[in-house]
Amino acid sequence: MTNVLAATHPEGTVYGEIGDATVPLRFSASPEALSEEYTALRERAAVIDLGGHRLIEITGPAAVEFAQRVLARDVEYLTSDRCMMSLVLDEDGRIVDQVIAFGREDGILLESSCGAGARLLEHLRERNDEGAEIADRSEDLAIVGLEGPYAWGVVGRLIDAELASLPFESVAEATWDGVDVVFARTGFTGEYGYQMIVPRESAPGLWSLSVEHARPAGQEALELAMLEVRQPMPRHEATPGASVIEIGANWLVDITKESFVGREAVLEAFESGAGRSTVGFTCAVGVPAPGTRLMAGDQVIGEVVHAVHSVGLNATLGLARVDRDLAAAGLELSAGGVGVTTLTSPYIVPKSWSVPII
């Protein structure tokens, strides 16, 4: 998928391939880039290029019925002023993607996670028994995100201050520069978060204005901040064979819904009580690779799923999948010969939690 904002981004922007998308990882080649972008996100406000998130529209008379079956959460009465995050599972209960579902007047709009859109689209089309109309709207729409403790102030300067205090997961129709904007209060990082869905041709203009009020932050800073508040990231966490319960994404599934694709598998995993659990950890040196064994003394109790260097902690921060009864905070373990300590989430307390919108 071509990045609509690429021409707008500064020289030196470092891109990476994530799934089917090419996205900015950092907006400068400077060694301080990640740290500066992260700091902007956690301390002030960051603007995020969400071009790697594909928009898939489901419409037609069968739209809600179909969406209700393929999404793991309840979207039957998702009105056009609400959005919600949900998992999309396959029949075996494996995570296909984690989406934001926006209620629309004539159906539902799904936003994929970064780089997972093509696979999601294929998954949906294969299961479209209801005959819903499924369209890839990324050909004509783009998403710009804002995250940060003062992101609400940027909203006022960009569009309308009234939008800033929208309740979480609320959606409003707005206009910017004469074009319609689907404006949503969302948030991936525990900070105030907003998304603006605009016509593709308007995205560069909105981005250019946004960067006058907020610093751009790339995928690395975004994912680090997500990890710090334990926001699930399927591309790192959905390891082969791991169930929703092992991943700790139960809250993105609603088993009180009578039926949806993958429900039986989730129930089975839940009832069996088998499998591991995911827990955060930190260590002073090194960043253990995924798959590194986690040891309690000389006993293998699990393995590292994902780890990075956290700017906020100034230490390594990672997720490990361990035996269920050892998924607790404060345990002294080792990974690859280095001592690690398990943590309770969130690993960083977002500043937004103590900054009111005024």
Partner: protein
Amino acid sequence: MALRPVVVTGLGIICAAGRDPADFWLRLTSGSGGLTPMRDEAYAVFEARHAGQVPDEWITSQLPDADASLDRTAQLALVAARQAMAGLTAADPGRFGIILGKCQATPDQAGRYQPMHRTGDVVAERLGLRGPRILVSTACAAGGNAVGLAKDKILAGEADAVLAGGVDPLLFGTYAGFAGLQALSTGPCRPYSRSDGLNLGEGAAFLLLEPLDLALARGAVPLAEVAGYGLSADAYHATAPDPTGRGGAAAMRRALADAGLSPGDVHYVSGHGTGTPANDAMEAKVMRLVFGERAGQVPTSSIKSFLGHTLGAAGAVEAVAAVLALRHGVAPPTIGFDGEPAAADLDFVPNVARPMDIETVVSNNYAFGGNNVSLVLTRPRGPRAYEDPPRREAVITGLGPVTGAGTGIAEVSAAISAGLRAAGRPPSLDGRTYAPRSLWRHMNRLSRMAIAASRLAWEDAGLKLPRKALDDVGLIFATGAGSAESTGGFDESIALNPNKPAVLSFSNVVLNATGGAVCQTLGLRGPTTTICNGGASASIALDCALELISAGKAEVVLVVAADERPGEAFGDPSDPPTPYETGAAEPVPGSAAVAFVVESADHCAGRGGRAYARVLATTHTTHDPTDALHPALESSAGVVVGVGAGSSRDREEAAAVLGTAGGVLTSSAALIGDCQAASGAMNIAMAALAVRDGIAPALTGLARPVAGDLGRYLTDPVLPGPVEQALALTAAPGSVSGAVLLGAV
């Protein structure tokens, strides 16, 4: 087009900041507050002790001995009501009404809960008011709401004078509930500055409303004009205000539009100003949304800093203050203002009253359930020509019964045709969903029934409206007693430990909570109110819907009535009583919610909707229906759906109906039981069904009717021929009875 000007000609108030209007105004302008530590030792269990208490002597010194045995709520109300009426020497009792706002179900002298409408009945009886009588319970917005509804009653030509106001006493349970929500300030509250919580208060306030022409004709001095009012629903949360301020702004904009004014005309805003952080922050947003760049030039203050939050009385108390502010050209201050303002760009009139030119005041109130009200009061102008309000034809386009006899009109129609008698059977909500599961989980039974009924009525009407149109859809909720489940659960928790109240139940104890839940679930943000006149609530609610449609304030209004059987779980009586049968056993109480969609005939035609019936007329009387007949009874209705539930009152009703109206008499009581407000709504729904589909619940098994011949009763569900008109009756025994005449489309 100019409508008949409605003015305030009398004021009455009793609260912690004054025993009467003169005393009240002196204290407001001298900054002398009345918040004190609670005298009652029972409140020592709470950390927060300050409240706005009315000294007993203020009450007793203003009451005749005959009122000494009344409960405190009625006493407070009577003191304020008599003050407001003081200048009125002669009035036609039949055209003199009372609209009372009240938040809490209040106890009688013995400490037992009374029906919500009881206080209004007592005041009306003692003062001889026999005109329109409404109990409005939109929690903390009720007092302001009552003033608006009173204006509607005068414009509709139903009354020449209306006492409009509110009352609430300090109740231990309510105090515990607010303490449990961490909403109380530990000292005197400091709205718009510290904003560290509210104080509760008690009191009553009334405004006497009259049409300007009649007021001048009797030589009264108009104190202010009630230029307009606006209602809105947040559709956001049970207790917290919508943080964007959209709901409050919508109410204020609607009120200004109703008054034919613009934000630029407003000189002073009497704020809700409870002193909680959520309220005060939201109000600042409302000011900025409505007034834009001018927000800082419009002083806004909160007199709750003087007397605490008097809940259902607050809107009326503040309306009295607003009238006095207009009269005297002084904005009362926000006292206790301390430190940084909640919003540096706004003018909260800190601590000192401010003389200023005031032509127009807006008084705002925001309530649990996301109910908002704004009143626009202006300096009175001279007499002028006016026109009658337009009559716009309204139709009923969707029915949503949730009853023991069936869920949805298809099931209920089948039950009627089969002659089912399901009185006392609980409604079933199994088999489908009516709301997002995330909301449904937290709903009590009453809200679930009401949401299901609303959803079913909406679907039955075939309405498909875009989000923007839902912002103007009205919702009128009618209930006799609100949620018995939540009230019972909350009271039990307080009895166990007042410091551990069941806070989720507390938020559902307010009568309008269910109406708010319906708005939230269906996303309705139009005008909303809650009517609590027992079994007559639904027909009064229909009146409110018709007034909204006639005034062009809404094209679509959902009316939903719900009540539940108090006490233990349901039995399933195998042989429910047959209404109007001689010697019938006692009525079977039941639980039900019944919703119907009221739409302007134009709107229905425009979308190609299929209406059940036209609404031809509604009337209410506070006389006993047997000694003064409803004008509507003298119609040529083919079928009358009466109140008859198998009680001793059946005979009087049947005799009155059969002696006056044509057609056959029946009732919904054997089908669904006696479900208070929901039974009234069911009667209206059944009349609509009879007109369009030619069926009505039959009195299966009726053999020896209490009055008249058996042939005058409906004993077969299939009506003999097309029904051109059908009449539905409602009643709150001993208080108000109503009649709704429907006609074929």
